[in-house]
Amino acid sequence: MEGRGAPASVGAVKKGLEAVGYLADEPAALVAYLAQRLGKPVLVEGPAGVGKTELAKAISRSSGRRLIRLQCYEGLDEAKALYEWNYRKQLLRIQSEGVAREGEAGGPPAGAWGDIFSEEFLLRRPLLEAIAADEPVVLLIDEIDKTDQEFEAMLLEVLSDFQISIPELGVIEARTHPIVVLTSNNSRELTEALKRRCLYLWLDYPSVEREMEIVRLHAPDIDERLARRLVEVVHMVRQLDLKKPPSIAESIDWARALILLGAGDLDRSVFERTMSIIVKHRSDMDLVAERVGVKLAGPLQAEAG
């Protein structure tokens, strides 16, 4: 099933993503293209903060589809992901109908039973919303590695048939084919069946050149030399053994902070003052100050591993 308005080529997808502010490299653009052409879900894995969620948002913006987001957490179950009946409202309706008919003699309040399981009492959660949508959507299932295997099994069922059966209402089938993007922080192995179903994309930290482009795209006022220095320092920090390596968003934040502070160059004092923007743990800060801070006194040299 091809999506409506499927893109013509990988190059077109790449340009489209760039136009909405996401600089994709070749594998990412290719997988985004294949997802739309083949109609298969995409599983994006990678370290935290490399732009996995951003990719889904960018695909939604560039293809003009609405984004529906399901944020996964431990203990997420069908009721919060698929649909739920609004029990409180239903009970209130039953009780109020019962009071209203007390005055009348006669049989059971037949009308009330029919109404209770109608659309107005159905709470639609993201998955049902995506399936029942009238126009094409992008369904983002974020951080699926936080859920458990039962949830994955349920998701598989939904993703394979794109229909949901609600016993009281009937079967709801998808009229349009959503683009499904699953992201995972790689904290656990996902089930084979789910991986088999999806196209796989590994997003890693970008190269120095690419990250510079990204930083300059999102913080345009920064001077080129300073941007290069900043990105090189961030790369050095990432190579250390930290609890939480800095993400791309944090590089952008740092660039913006440096612009605000009016810093002309990234020397040791500026670095130590602003280090907390990219390093967020006490123990990491000590390590970074010791390893990287020392090198910043003089001209910067790239270090290889």
Binding site: D148, S187, R196, Y200
Partner: protein, 458 residues
């Protein structure tokens, strides 16, 4: 293994299937559905862009980082061999004009190669590899064995990782980049060989050594981190698997009744008592004599990286005497520093520096004998080579009686056990299970067993 390329029916489909067969033989789990997806994906991309072809295939076939690594190696090898076989069949030869060219300045060549490696330019690396081979071939140094020649040329070019020669001039190189250049060298040498002999060399499966434990803690840090990250993931998965089991869960009456207030006193939703995953207590004893050092330090660091999965972890090292090293791991994060401190502060060597298991059991019994209880797991990493000294299997037996489970990890393959001065047979009866542990896969299996609480047959 591997179909003879000349005999396959024409067209891409049989070759793709042959490629997938090779991937399967290297351990990548590929089903027919993925092969169908691969065909559909290749249908959608243009094949004239090699990167697109490769990525489209990888997105449908390699579904994790480990699979992708195997995929890359097999892809290069398969399509290289296919194109070479075709060239050999048609009698196409490379145009080797540059070999007759003027004299090659070795210094310039070295610099050019270093620049190309640092910048990661593949096309340039390939051309420079050919030049390098031509230069050294002309000197008559080629031996005809590809692996040996690759190393000779690398040494002659002075290519060493930055960590080993920090004062070398030119841009710094890391191990991965040099390995890439070596692959180009190897490929060009093989290409030359195929042209000369007119047939393909036999294809060997990817060395299992690709997956073996790193032999030196200072190098291959990336491999260590990879293995650790993978083990962490496996343990996290394991925790999920155990928690997910719905059977045998107890209804929590209080929480159910509280939740029922939402629905007018009707208990529509049952709340269960949460099931806490079992967190074992671990005591680890590692042999750090020279025969086993790298494996043991690696193993200890892996365990400490997983310390959040275990409730209590205490580690000890020994050669002739035992010394506790738990705090070294807690204070140091750097792998190199850890191994340096253990070897210097260990205080475990005595006179001869040869392992003495018997004495170790006697000392250990006094150190932790009282702390062991049925909830603990005791792990020994060693080769059981006690250099002819008294094994004191009974002292070992007393320790293992106290602990809930005892595991022995032997970094030698099972065939070597009890050969020479190894006394595994004396210790095996006292342990719950003994494992051989010299690849990361063995390590993973073992960690699964420890965290899962179930002993599997080894």
């Amino acid at each position: 293994m591997g179909a003879d390329h000349a005999k396959l029916p024409p067209g891409l489909a049989p070759r793709l299937i042959a490629f997938c067969e090779e991937l399967r033989s290297e351990g990548v789990a590929l089903g027919s559905s993925e092969i169908m997806d691969a065909f559909a994906a290749l249908d959608a991309v243009t094949w004239t862009v090699p990167a697109d072809f490769r990525e489209a295939l990888a997105a449908t076939v390699a579904k994790s980082q480990e699979d992708r690594r195997v995929f890359d190696l097999v892809f290069d090898r398969f399509f290289f061999r296919t194109s070479e076989a075709e060239a050999a069949r048609r009698g196409i030869r490379e145009d080797r004009r540059y070999e007759q060219g003027g004299s090659l300045d070795l210094e310039d060549l070295r610099d050019a190669i270093r620049q190309a490696i640092a910048a990661g330019r593949d096309g340039e690396m390939r051309d420079l590899a050919r030049l390098a081979i031509a230069a050294f071939g002309r000197r008559g140094e080629g031996s005809g064995v590809v692996g040996v020649d690759v190393q000779r040329i690398r040494r002659a070019l002075g290519l060493q990782a930055q960590s080993q020669r920090p004062e070398a001039p030119g841009p710094p190189l890391d191990r991965e980049a040099i390995a890439r250049f070596e692959r180009h060298l190897r490929r060009e040498l093989e290409r030359g060989l195929i042209e000369r002999t007119g047939k393909l060399p036999p294809s060997r499966p990817l060395a299992d050594l690709d997956r073996a434990l790193p032999t030196s803690p200072a190098q291959d840090l990336a491999a260590v981190h990879r293995a650790v990250a993978q083990l962490k993931r496996r343990l996290a998965t394991l925790g999920h698997e155990q928690r997910g089991r719905g059977r045998g869960r107890v209804v929590d009456i209080r929480r159910t009744m509280r939740a029922s207030l939402e629905t007018g006193g009707v208990p529509l939703r049952l709340k269960y008592r949460p099931k806490r995953p079992r967190r074992p207590e671990i005591y680890v004893l590692c042999d750090v004599s020279t025969s086993v050092t790298s494996a043991s330090v690696f193993f200890l660091s892996v365990l400490h990286a997983l310390h959040d999965a275990f409730r209590k972890l205490r580690s000890f090292v020994f050669i002739e005497r035992v010394s506790e090293v738990t705090d070294i791991f807690e204070r140091e994060r750097d792998f190199g520093a850890i191994s340096a401190r253990i070897s210097s502060e260990g205080g475990v060597a005595d006179v001869s520096g040869y392992t003495d298991y018997g004495r170790v059991w006697l000392e250990l019994g006094e150190l932790i004998g009282d702390d062991l209880d049925p909830r603990s797991t005791f792990i020994v990493l060693g080769d059981a080579r006690t250099n002819g000294r008294e094994p004191h299997a009974d002292a070992f037996g007393r320790i293992t009686e106290r602990a809930g489970r005892t595991f022995w990890l032997n970094p030698e393959p099972r065939l070597y056990w009890n050969y020479g001065d190894s006394v595994m047979a004396a210790y095996e009866p006292h342990v719950t299970a003994a494992f051989e542990c010299w690849t990361t896969r063995h390590l993973e299996d073992f960690v699964n067993v420890v965290a899962g609480g179930a002993a599997r047959p080894s």
